[in-house]
Amino acid sequence: MTFGADTEDLLRTVDLRLDGRRIWSFRVGEAVSLDGSETGRRLMPWPRVMPPYLEGRSTFSLHPVDGEGPELTASARFGDSDEPVNFADSHGLGLIINKWGNIGHALADYPAGIEQRLLDRLDLIRDVLADKSEVDVYVTGGTLLGPYRDGRVMPNDDDADLAYLSPHSHPADVARECLQIGRALVAAGITVVRCSAGHLQLHFEHEGRPDGYVDIFTGWIDDFGWWYQLFPIRAQVSREQLVPPRTLMIEGRPQPMCREPELMLDAIYGPGWATPDPGFVFDVPQDTQDRFYGWMSDQHMNRTPWEDRYRYDLLGNRVELGTAPTDYVRAVADTLDPGSFVVELGCGRGHDALWLARQGHVVEALDYVRWPMIRATEYAAANELPAGFRTLNLYDPRRILAFGAEMAGRGMPATVYARDLLPTVWDVGRPNLWRLLSMLLRGGGSAHLDFAVSHSLAPDPRIGGPMHRILDIDVLTEEMAGFGLAVTGTSEVTEAITWPNTADEVDLTKTRMVVSWQRAAR
């Protein structure tokens, strides 16, 4: 989109409104000048996730957040439709572009009463933590900032944020405590997504629809007086500055906040926290990021773009499940005995797994994104197919060991199938994959995995979208040898594939390899 701006506008944040509803915020200075000058027309690209939704005719306006300056309004038509542009999810909930540049929801777009429902959930979560742990809980992030600064919940937020202060001072104890807290929350009937050993995301539904989520961030003070709180805080703070918590009234209800809230807000948002800035983005020092990554790892690794893919990919979700098997699964099926037991890793929507189940094979299919697992489970049940779907995160070694033990306990050989998994797994996750294969294949069977060798589609996901990169079979072979695995066969194929954020179908040269367990791991 293009618009005119003056020099004094460059630091200004504007809301982009679609037919009057806020869908995005950005700083004017982020838009590129069309003639290289500070004044005149500027170009702001649409967020990369938005173009598929741009179909129809609507009014777009740029509204200065500070209320200064004119509001710019224009009508636009995308494609041939005269219907209004529908930027909403499959439940009809309006979507926004959040501060991460991803599609999300704003509290303002949920059904009425979302604030009270979120506060109910904060109470529930705090009750569980009070009952099952020794931590001190308080609101943080936007849930502290909005009510403390503005006296109300931030309408552009899409979640509620809780943090706690652990009684422990060593990261190993803090991590283990968070693992136990995750289990306690699951036992309380809450849907918990683990983003790291110190960050949980709790999801809720209302009337059958997703209804916002709550983040819980771990915090602790080490033996040297450094206060850590995922993911942006590292500061010299005493325990007495944080606890015991004080009371903050949010929408008329008492919630705990730390003793010196301005200290926390400064640590999270910087000294400018008192000035509203919807275009705010985090700028966490690298040495702080390194500490958290080392101590708490990252089990979300690329999951957000995949979640977005399965929640918001309009075209992909219209294809009936199990009706679009890939060439690879057909080739693998040719090698199977009737009624084989197949484990599919990284099954996505489950097309191949459901197709295999239709061929009479017993399938256990896994992915680390829960939305397609829920949908595929319902489809398999409705169609009485012998296919089970569940989430498994290759970045969580605890779940790998548990799942591997469970499968080994079945006492039957497994065929493992994983298409396009290796190119998407970060290096840190591959040892877990090899360990899982070594557990699954000890009773016999083989694994079928492929990877691109011609070129990468998305070598670095930090620029947007899930990773897909080339790999070297010599590296993989050497890694696998340490887990008692060996490549027993390879073939080269050319596949036409589409990938999130690649415009068109592209031809990739891939190596398909067959892996077996050869000996006990050293």
Binding site: A175, R176, L179, A197, D290, G294, W295, S297, L401
Partner: protein
């Protein structure tokens, strides 16, 4: 000679009167000017001293800057020479931090998965044999 004396005698009287008048009129200012001159001379001397001191200061600073530059160059050289070492230290730091997580994960696996899986197979006799190795 006689003529010159005559002229001198004739003109001497008025000239003395004029000088007297000029002295009466300007001597205070003259004294003031001379005092100013003396003060300015002193200040000029001080200024020269200041300039000399400044020159010395600049010279000292230049020497210090030179020394700092040399130290900086040496530090940069050291840093460049130790890039590989720094990379190794950073990797080691990351690995050390990761060990914390691994300990937490393994402790979690043992208490939540391994022990519950095996508790039905625990042999009380085997437990009795697990005597403490220290007191």
């Amino acid at each position: 000679m006689a003529a010159r004396s005559t002229v001198k005698r004739l003109a001497g009287g008025p000239a003395r009167r004029v000088r007297g008048l000029v002295q009466r009129a300007f001597v205070p200012q003259l004294a003031e000017l001379m005092a100013d001159r003396d003060r300015l001379n002193r200040e000029l001397g001080l200024a020269f001293e200041s300039v000399s001191a400044a020159h010395q200061g600049i010279a000292d600073l230049q020497a210090e800057a030179k020394a700092l530059r040399e130290r900086l160059d040496m530090t940069l050289l050291l840093a460049e020479a130790n890039q590989e070492e720094i990379r190794q230290v950073k990797a080691g730091l990351l690995e050390t931090r990761r060990q914390s997580l691994r300990i937490a994960e393994l402790a979690d696996v043992v208490t939540e998965i391994v022990l519950p899986l095996h508790d039905r197979d625990i042999d009380p006799e085997a437990l009795k044999r697990l005597s403490a190795d220290t007191y």
